[in-house]
Symmetry: C2
Subunit: 340 residues, 2 copies
């Protein structure tokens, strides 16, 4: 039986799907995966160590019955927080100095860390629903503020889980990067979806969603969201979470939808955790950079389990191999979720 | 100081170059890197174990004074070989069966392993010059045969070094994949170089070469080749090797140039080895897929040391961060080479 060659929904990106020598979930389970060691006294994201980070640009404080949004100032660190967002000490993008001319070859922007919980190990797979709601609200708040800056063209929100997936600190956290250009992959998706929506009079992602909602790659859904394994996923067990209603960006999320996103995120990531023994993964939001593109672009979250190594073939060709057919991945994830 | 944002010579690919918090070579040296363990009796690529692989599609035999090219047949395995090329047992692409209709969604093609030496650890950084000449000749012979098949649109030749870079077997070997499409990255380079050569009346790579040969990213050269750190390399210590004369593909390599390529490959890879304690790396050839594109495309070899982890940012945006400015990488590699 020959392997299958699939092209991404929108990108000019090809993947060989191993229908021929496919692998089962158990092939990926690390039997000896151990919890990462934690010394809370030296973790810069644990409560009490707020001084180890720059002042927060956003803190949610438990303020009796309301959640209060604050910033640290240089002399003050708030301590009784729910989530806090701080500039990354090892920043890839930096804000322009006052009066500095904006040069196109400078990495101008922002690079922030969103600490998702005062509890070191409260990762989304095990988080309290109420805590994940704060995390999603934190994403939206930072997205709103960073998007409003004149030198910011795109805001990337992503998460690295475990050291093998690039998380150098094990305390639950996400990262937010605001940059002066629209990144390659989003740009290519934008161009393709603009073209397709002109041709078909409908958002290309709405069309994808309708097909995936009822097909062999469907994983789960709730009132506002659907999770499915993407047709040409380039990572084993890759899956996407997409809002059911057309929405270009997270900025228009209603509070019920925030709860729905928190819920489906937890459901899927805890399914992934139980299926593959808490594997390393990355996730990243894809969002429309402005109002105009919101008309034909549909935000979504892509989750990439890190279970294989991209090597000479992938790096020199931009093509990929996936040894777990997305249909099988969806079946396994669905089973793991239903069994919980 | 702000980091620098660079766009690739031809690709719509951006990288943040860490001029701000750059890293030195010693930051990457694994002090405890140990030789990978070898059990030669179980290595399918060691002499005597030829039965552990499918029959070779190409063997160079030491035949008194000449090098003879042969194939194994199903019943026979040649044993006194210099290099041998065999079908990959875990093949991503497979040839069509006789009479089978070619379907565009099938991964039709070939996937081969070129065993670079009978000596398990004769990697290019330490190989005899004469042996590396056989390896390059082997690449060219397979490229010629595979390119001639009607269902093959592109042949990718690449090498993974060490387990961390995806080499599941430690015996010195390369891989060759013949595929039914032109891969994404090569395709994008082709389109850009076609456009640029129309505009400027010259191959875009010839122009790159002229600039890099005399600039801060130059590493070394011999009569036929130049090595340089690429302007917007997405890997720390990434470098490219390019023929000085315009050449679309390896198929027109003269025998003196084969020797020149073998020599500069060894020089650069042994420099990399001594600088960073034999780090994992991948390399891949980029070649023009046919005669027409050879006019404006210039083949080259890209070498990607594997010293960082691509995480949520890279995977969701297609943008990269490189913590070693290419100018610094070139300086360090040059120093390591000159000091040998």
């Amino acid at each position: 039986m020959l392997n299958e060659l699939r092209k991404d929904y929108l990108l000019n990106r090809w993947v060989v799907i191993a229908t021929h020598r496919k692998r089962r979930p158990t092939d990926f389970v690390k039997k000896d995966a151990v919890a990462e060691s934690v010394d809370k006294s030296s973790c810069p994201f644990c409560p009490g160590n707020e001084r180890m980070t720059p002042p927060a640009v956003l803190v949610y404080l438990r303020d009796e019955e309301t959640v209060a949004k604050k910033r640290d100032t240089d002399g003050v660190r708030h301590t009784d927080w729910l989530i806090r967002c701080v500039p990354n000490l090892f920043s890839a993008f930096s804000p322009p100095k006052n009066g500095e001319e904006l040069e196109s070859d400078k990495a101008i922007g922002h690079h922030e860390v969103l600490v998702e919980s005062p509890n070191h190990a409260e990762h989304p797979s095990v988080a309290r629903a109420s805590q994940l709601v704060h995390v999603v609200n934190g994403y939206v708040d930072r997205l709103r503020e960073l998007s409003s800056k004149p030198y910011v063209k795109y805001v990337s929100i992503f998460r690295n889980h475990r050291l093998e997936a690039g998380a150098s600190l094990s305390h639950a956290h996400s990262q937010i990067i605001a940059m002066p250009i629209i990144p390659t992959i989003v740009n290519e998706e934008l161009m393709a979806s603009r073209k397709l929506s002109k041709e078909h009079g409908e958002c290309a992602f709405c069309d994808i969603l309708r097909r995936e909602k009822r097909g062999p790659r469907f994983i789960c859904e709730n009132q506002d969201f659907v999770a499915f394994a993407s047709w040409a996923g380039i990572n084993p067990f890759e899956f996407w979470i997409m809002p059911k209603n057309h929405q270009g960006t997270l900025l228009t999320l209603k509070s019920k939808a925030v709860e729905g996103l928190a819920e489906i995120l937890k459901t899927c990531l805890s399914g992934l955790k139980s299926l593959l023994n808490d594997p390393p993964y990355n996730y990243g939001f894809h969002i429309a950079p402005d109002e105009e593109t919101s008309k034909f672009y549909h935000w979504h979250l892509e989750v990439y389990p890190k279970l294989s190594t991209w090597a000479g073939f992938e790096k020199s060709t931009g093509m990929y191999m996936n040894v777990v057919p997305p249909e099988d991945a969806a079946q396994s994830l669905k089973g793991a979720i239903d069994g919980q």
